[in-house]
Amino acid sequence: MKIAKIDLKSLKKQAQKDINLAKDLKELNEIFKKYLGKKGQLTQVLRSLEKLSKAKRVKIGKAANQLKNFLRIKFDQKAEALKEKVRKEIEEKEWIDITAPGKKPALGHLHPLTLVKRKTEEIFQEMGFSVVEGPEVETEWYNFDALNIPPEHPARDLWDTFYLKNGFLLRTHTTPVDVRYMEKNNPPLRIITIDRCFRHEATDASHEINFYQLDGLMVGKNISVANFKATIQEFFQRFFNKVIEIRMRPGYFPFVEPGFEVDMTCLICGGKGCSACQKTGWMEMMGAGMVHPAVFKNSGLNPRDWQGWAFGMGFDRLTMMKYKINDIRLFYSGDLRFLQQF
């Protein structure tokens, strides 16, 4: 009886020591078997209880069961600690160099002119403009005559034109779309066109034989120069995300009267004057003006009833300014080293 008591005490001490020394789960399992397995030392003590008197059985049985529970907890704790250690080791082994480059999914790229076209359309649509298009192969009428540029007029020299053998021509600007639209739609109206045009001229860093033009038209009962100024200023501010002012100078385009050249605050110097703006603080952006009565007439509208403004600007140049591209020819080169930057 006394022995049994001592036995439990040293059993506890020894078991605790063994558990602490276990190096891995396998060893721990062996130790578990040694004490709590079918033939384990504590299991045997518990089994031998039936041979004892009732009083002893109760007393020693209680102590033995307490020890059993105590050891189970110890085993669990140790097992958890060992598992944690193993996880740590695995994680340690799985170290990677996070500075090595990531693997990008192979997306394609949209053309910069497409991107800027979308941005421009979005801004104008938010201001109530519809986006319209028209044919690239045009008639003399829509490209010139209807726009108050009569045949054999020197103003035609302002537009170097590709003529086609079938009597048509390649439109030199998107302004014909204005006439086509006014023929079919009654004012009030607000439209923009961003589309391909053609010029018969030598190519260089800022000239291409095909290019894109942004053309806008707003017609109503009271649409004024002041409205033009506000609308275009708003467009440039939203487009470039900067505080921008515009100014108008006299300009001549046969389809508008009065006609303007439109400048905007230099993006580089903010108007202080720098080399990019020839020290003027302004950048030339577009031609514009109030729709000429002859154009209304040629579009089937009565000029007494309607007034409005129109503008046209090089869309490639706008895109070049946006991305600081220095050569228009890159747009039509199909060079993926260029296109895949967008």
Binding site: A106, L107, G108, H109, L110, R118, Q125, G128, S130, V131, E133, E136, V137, E152, P154, A155, L158, F162, Y163, L164, K165, N166, L170, P188, R190, R196, F198, H200, A202, I209, N210, M218, N222, I223, S224, V225, A226, N227, K229, A230, T231, E234, R247, M248, R249, P250, G251, Y252, P254, E257, P258, F260, P293, Q307, Y332, G334, L336, R337, L339, Q340
Partner: protein, 675 residues
């Protein structure tokens, strides 16, 4: 055009603003001054005169008047007080006959005798040089000087060299020739207006003088010509002869016929003063239809409504005064204005509004948003589908390119286009732009060839317009993939069409005619027509080695080419959700050996026919031919996905169907299920 600052100053008593400041004024209110530079004691202003102001502003007087209008300084015209010699009569020296008064609305001639031809005085020579003209002799220099001053081109003939003492303004006869002052020979024709003497052309009217009646050191009697020629006639002549001169440039833009007299008097005055001549009495002046000043009525409300700013009437009147626009009637609602005939650009109220706007200052107009009815912008469905398509292709790894709208003879030949179908340019800049592109393919293949040395694998596309006779302008969508990528391209087309809401897609093998075969750009065994609801919308396939070799391209290229007009019409945003079955799906595999030429389609059809509704999907996951497979055969492996919408299928039920399918497939001769 370049202008002398000192010359401009000579029209004013008060000092002009400094050259830089003057340039700024002009730029903001009249014409852009592109350059100001010092030239000795003078300054040169390079001014971009707007084409509609050529009539009055291709001249120092014109610019001086603009300066007066802008600054308010008082403009003084130059002197032209001629003292005529009563004993000499101009018409005794020369007779003028104008055959066509439309081509020549006015012809003014004067005669100066006893001139001493020699070098011009320094002040004339210097002003000419500053303006880029070479001094020749006093008579010629004065003619040029007066042109730069007034804008009216003048010409001087040696009277004694004119046969028959006659000047005839007429169209040239065919095969007439002329040698000009610069010794160039020109062949004339019936469209070219000339000044002739009794026998031959002596000048090309409004363009250049002839060599024969040239002023030289021995010239004693000169005939001065100050004429007005029709702008279209001069323009046509100048284009025909490919000859542009200071004179033709001015006439082409149109001049005021009332200018001739003033200019000729100014020239006569200067010749008298400098070359010591006697001015014969009386100008010879052919001017059948006098041009009178226009009257334009300006509605003041309209002015305010168009500019969007209220300008005080006092200010408007002041601006008109400075511009020499005479108010002949002033009412509270309108002003009636008399426009000097030199202002060819003013005939409408809008023209007057421009004058007021620019002189008053556009910068004074405050930005104001329009008050307009709220009309929502119309949706442009074609742009919508275009953008959607571009997005899908981009997400699938394709890069968008923009190519030229042209191709050349080489491409036309290589791609089998016939000249009669192509739209040809009248005036191409190079052979590469001979035709409008009838297809996006040729230029895309060039892109591939150019990029291939930098990129081993290329996927590009373009959505752009193509043109073919008879004037068909169509949007096309073309995509290219390098490599043995037929199925990739086909998968791309399927994906794209599905995303565009199109499901009934069919691929048909193409049966070219022998003629088509010859020019076909497609690999005959690796191409297909893309059909939607039975209608062809495009083509898919590998480019034939014949084409690739001519483009010096090593490797394979697969391409899809779709008629985007058709596509955007059948695309749809409608899309309906399919409920997800609550019952599990089961997968069974079938591997089958079939003869090589049997199409997957046939096997699929058979499986579907037998399998019925409970087969939800069939997925071909492997096609194999080669080692371990008998020659002439291929192995097809399918996942068959079984699923019912209303119950869980039992293994027994599935096995029954699967066995039925296997039996049906094995019935085919040469088909063999692999177990």
């Amino acid at each position: 055009m370049v202008f002398s600052y000192n010359w401009l100053q000579s029209f004013f008593q008060k000092k002009l603003p400094k050259p830089e400041k003057l340039a700024e004024f002009l730029t903001m209110k009249a014409f852009e001054v592109s350059e100001v530079r010092k030239a000795g004691k003078d300054f040169v202003l390079d001014i971009d005169i707007l084409p509609n102001r050529a009539g009055d502003c291709f001249s120092h007087q014109g610019i001086a008047r603009e300066i007066a209008a802008i600054t308010g300084l008082i403009y003084r015209g130059s002197t032209s007080m001629v003292s005529e010699d009563k004993n000499l009569k101009a018409k005794d020296f020369v007779g003028v006959e104008v055959k066509n008064k439309v081509a020549c609305p006015r012809y003014t001639a004067g005669v100066v005798t006893d001139v001493k031809v020699g070098p011009s005085p320094k002040w004339i020579r210097e002003r000419l040089k500053v303006c880029g003209l070479r001094p020749i002799n006093n008579v010629v220099d004065i003619a040029n000087y007066v042109m730069l001053e007034t804008g009216q081109p003048l010409h001087a003939f040696d009277d004694q060299k004119l046969e028959g003492e006659k000047i005839i303004v007429r169209f040239a006869k065919n095969r007439e020739k002329i040698v000009t002052l610069d010794e160039e020979k020109y062949d004339l024709n019936e469209n070219i207006l000339v000044i002739a003497d009794a026998k031959k052309p002596v000048a090309i009217a409004g363009i250049k003088g002839g060599k024969i009646p040239e002023i030289d050191k021995k010239t004693k009697i000169i005939v001065l010509e100050s004429a007005n020629f029709d702008s279209r006639v001069v323009r046509r002549g100048s284009q025909k002869l490919d000859l542009k001169t200071d004179a033709s440039w001015r006439f082409e833009h149109g001049l005021d016929p009332n200018l001739t007299e003033m200019a000729i008097n100014r020239a006569a005055y200067l010749i008298q003063k400098i070359a010591k001549g006697k001015v014969a009495k009386g100008l010879i002046d052919f001017y059948p239809k006098k041009v009178l000043p226009k009257r334009v009525k300006l509605d003041l409300d309209y002015l305010e409504k168009l500019l969007g700013i209220k300008i005080p009437v006092r200010e408007i009147k002041n601006i008109f005064k400075r511009l020499d626009l005479q108010i002949i009637e002033a009412k509270p609602r309108y002003l009636l204005v008399k426009v000097p005939t030199r202002r060819l650009d003013i005939s409408l109220p809008e023209d007057l509004i421009e004058e007021i706007g620019r002189i008053y200052g556009y910068q004074k107009i405050k930005a104001a948003f329009p008050t307009a009815t709220l009309i929502p912008p119309k949706r442009n469905i074609e742009i919508f589908w275009g953008d959607m398509t571009k997005n899908i292709l981009k997400e699938a790894g394709f890069t968008e390119v923009y190519n030229y709208s042209f191709f050349g003879e080489k491409e036309a030949k290589l791609f089998g286009y016939e000249k009669k179908d192509l739209i040809e340019l009248e005036n191409p800049l190079s052979g590469e732009q001979k035709y409008l592109r009838a297809s996006l393919i040729p230029n895309l293949l060039k892109n591939i060839e150019k990029n291939f040395r930098y990129f081993p694998e290329i996927k590009i596309f373009e959505l752009g317009k193509t043109s073919q006779k008879p004037n068909l302008e169509k949007r096309a969508l073309t995509g290219v993939i390098t490599g043995d990528a037929f199925y990739q391209a086909k998968g791309m087309v399927d994906l794209l069409l599905n995303k565009l809401g199109i499901s009934n897609i069919w691929y048909d093998s193409w049966q070219p005619t022998p003629e088509q075969t010859k020019f076909s750009i497609w690999h005959p065994k690796k191409c297909a027509e893309i059909k939607i609801d039975g209608e062809e919308v495009g083509f898919l396939g590998e480019i034939s080695p014949r084409v690739l070799h001519s483009l010096d391209f090593q490797g394979k290229v697969v391409l899809f080419d779709i008629d985007f007009e058709k596509l955007s019409k059948i695309s749809s945003e409608e899309h309906e959700y399919q409920p997800i079955s609550k019952f599990p799906a089961a997968v069974r595999d079938i591997a089958i050996l079939v003869p090589r030429q049997i199409r997957v389609e046939e096997v699929l059809n058979k499986i579907e026919a037998v399998g019925g509704r409970l087969i939800r999907d069939i997925d071909l996951f492997d096609i194999y031919e080669g080692e371990e497979i008998p020659r002439g055969k291929k192995n097809l492996a399918f996942h068959l996905i079984y699923q019912a919408e209303d119950r869980t299928l039992s293994s027994k039920e599935i096995d029954q169907i699967q066995n039925k399918i296997i039996l049906a497939l094995e019935k085919e001769i040469g088909w063999e299920i692999r177990k």
